[in-house]
Symmetry: C2
Subunit: 192 residues, 2 copies
DNA sequence: GTCTATATGATGATAGAC
DNA sequence: GTCTATCATCATATAGAC
């Protein structure tokens, strides 16, 4: 893979942050270009339309998750560290300025993004649900987790909790993410 | 309370829908005025700034929840119907064109709304958490629910699940809200 | 009291300079 | 290949007509 230009990387970096803090229709090319010290049209060179930038952002976020999950998917192994990795990943992203999930941001502006991006989001979400379902199944087989019901439904419930918690955290004065994660642990029999 | 003008009500109605489908910074006064057959400035008469409209939207949504909860808060009673009411309320809102929670929309655009609105949102969220905490506590005392751990943490977990599920539902092809609600029921001992 | 005409600035995007 | 000058359009918001 050819090395991406520095400007392109910087654009993606700033755009990812802006997406999480202001939402998709809440930031402009000018916001990015100002921080980079160039004109907004320079951003248009790297990403002709805003939807191209959206597509790149989804791809990038997808790769981040893949880096954390591909190993497990390929080789199997203990399930608990996988789950803990998901918790830590969420906590770290959440603490950085109370950022909401890029996914949540796109979900809100879902009707304003092109179908191509929506498909990528759907694929991303399917991957996430499949991965966590597999983690839960494996963990239950190996007696790491104790829970009843359908693993897939539980996977969806956990992902929904985390996503919702990240949004509530932005509004609520009180801590949200920590108790919600504690709750998930409890329901998986991880706390005596 | 003096009766509100018809135009004002209509503006609020359309704005509420637009908020849930396109997000706060995803709709404009023109979007509203066009649907009403007037000029955008007419909307500015009723709500001088967009933040005034935002404030009214939060207040309105808050009243909707109060209508469903005030009775319980005041008189006590069986907890299960309260919880079922929350589920039904969420399902109905979600089915109407896969609308996300107005709250989730505002959370994304949190950095673009004035402090006054943020305070109202915080108050709204506190009310919601307090209400559900009380429902869970009462339900556990009356043996309607069976669960372990802190009722408040569980209340936050449930609300986060529902909010996250509404967003996932927009993206995911597969059904999300139903399995997530099923999961909540399971963890409250409502399914044998 | 209610709405329309108008202003001012920001937005995404194009054509062309270096 | 990379960026700047410029555009048409849309945003929120004001001043003033009915």
């Amino acid at each position: 893979m050819a090395r991406q230009s520095n400007t392109r990387e910087q654009i993606l970096h700033h755009a990812a942050h802006l997406l999480m803090t202001r939402g998709y229709s809440g930031f402009s090319y000018r916001d990015i270009s100002t921080q980079l010290g160039v004109k907004n049209a320079a951003v248009h060179y790297h990403f002709p339309a805003k939807s191209d930038l959206a597509m790149a952002l989804v791809d990038e976020y997808r790769q981040v998750l893949r880096q954390q999950t591909s190993q497990f998917m390929a080789y199997g192994g203990p399930a608990l560290p996988q789950l803990e990795g998901l918790f830590r990943f969420t906590e770290v992203q959440c603490e950085k300025g109370r950022c909401i999930c890029p996914f949540g941001a796109f979900a809100v502006d879902y009707n304003e993004i092109p179908e191509e991006v929506r498909d990528a989001m759907e694929a991303f979400m399917s991957d996430s649900v499949n991965w966590l379902t597999r983690v839960l199944e494996t963990g239950r087989e190996q007696k790491e987790f104790v829970f009843s019901g359908d693993p897939r439904a539980r996977a969806m419930g956990i992902l929904a909790s985390l996503q919702g918690a990240r949004q509530m955290a932005r509004i609520h004065q009180q801590e949200v993410l920590r108790p919600v994660i504690g709750q998930i642990r409890l329901d998986l029999g991880l706390i005596a």
